[in-house]
Amino acid sequence: MSPFATLLVRDLRLAARSGGGAALALSFFALVATLVPLGVGADLKLLARVAGGVLWVAAVLSALLSLDRLFQGDFEDGSLEVIALSPLALEAVALAKILAHWLSTGLPLTLLSPLLALLFNLDAAPTLTLFLSLLIGTPAVSAVGAIGASLTLSLKRGGLILPLIILPLLAPVVIFGAGAVALVLDGMSGGGALGLLAAFAFGAVLLSPFAAAASVRLNLGG
């Protein structure tokens, strides 16, 4: 197994065993998606109209719950120093952690979304668009989140500051993701919005490992 795959598998194993990753994010996502229809009431048209925005915001907030631990755990217990001295470049370390976060949080949220779309009276086509938008967009959430997590690494209450840093950066993801669903609801094609979302996600996944690695380096210098 390559060092990259080794780190990825370890982080997935830790996420599964710590109980604070996927399970917490999925529960939060499901709870928010269940509470909104209860609050909005039985107006099925209104529920379908707000579904894209609500589910996207819920997905971003759910992913945020575990983002602050992306580097923090390894930083606090000294693993990050040992990992930083391994043959794996810090950029590859950051990419492995982003991928592990997406596999343990973003992907399960995406897979759960069609079920939650039922609560919002979404038809098949907008549900599929929502699913695709989350599949394309959640890697960007993990990637942008990694930058925030690395910037707040040595801060005592970094978890509280993290949303303030990354939520504004994630505005395009929510706009394009929810926008694609809204377009399909209006009988138009969501392809353009999904394309923009894919471009943003591609850029984020491509660039964030470099930004996160630079920030981790600064924090290791302490």
Binding site: M1, P3, T6, L7, R10, R13, L14, R17, S18, G73, E76, D77, G78, S79, E81, V82, I83, A84, L85, S86, P87, L88, L220, G221, G222
Partner: protein, 200 residues
């Protein structure tokens, strides 16, 4: 194989405070250097500087091998085996999983005999959260052994270890130097290797 590590007029500042200035030393293959000094004198900072985590305010570090001279901090780090203040262990992983992870991360095949060498073979399937502080330190030593790095940087290597554990790490250090490795250790205790000392 590295032949020496040389520090030339190193300086370290933390905030407004100057920890050390014009610090020079040379450690050759097969030698150990004990870095001594009061708390806050800069022992850990010096180790972090050698590992490449911290940039010197002035001066340079040169790692020499038979083929090349390495001055780049990141490249130097690829020769470093690190035993820091924290053991770098995850409570959720078993002792064997933890060691296999570090071995594979460093591009080595998992070596079950490393656990026997540090006296943790019986605890192999035990999650790290159940280990005592001394056992955690022994596992960190096993990690150092499987990394097979020539330059060991040890921060208080005897901390939390009982007499048998201290003997174990002293034995490992002697063997490492015997095989041509270099050890630089920040310590309050004698290394017992007939080594040089550097007072900060």
């Amino acid at each position: 194989m590295i032949t020496s590590l040389t520090a030339e007029k190193l300086a370290c500042t933390r905030g407004d405070r100057k920890l050390f200035d014009t610090l020079s030393f040379r450690v050759s293959a097969g030698q150990a250097l004990a870095v001594e000094g009061a708390n806050g004198a800069g022992k850990t900072s010096l180790l972090r500087m050698i590992a490449g985590f911290l940039a010197p305010a002035a001066g340079r570090l040169v790692l020499k091998s038979a083929q090349a001279e390495i001055t780049d901090a990141e490249e130097r780090g690829k020769s470093v085996g690190w035993l820091g203040h924290h053991d770098g262990l995850k409570p959720q992983l078993t002792v064997r999983e933890q060691l296999d992870f570090f071995a594979r991360l460093y591009g080595r095949a998992p070596d079950p005999s490393a656990l026997e060498r540090v006296g943790l073979a019986r605890q192999a399937e035990l999650p790290c959260r159940y280990l005592s502080a001394g056992q955690r330190r022994r596992l960190a030593l096993a990690r150092l052994l499987v990394s097979e790095r020539p330059l060991w940087l040890l921060d208080e290597p005897f901390a939390a270890l009982d007499t048998a554990g201290q003997a174990l790490i002293a034995q490992a250090m002697a063997r490492h130097c015997g095989h041509g490795g270099i050890i630089i250790a920040a310590t309050h205790d004698p290394l017992g290797l007939g080594n040089e000392s550097l007072k900060l």
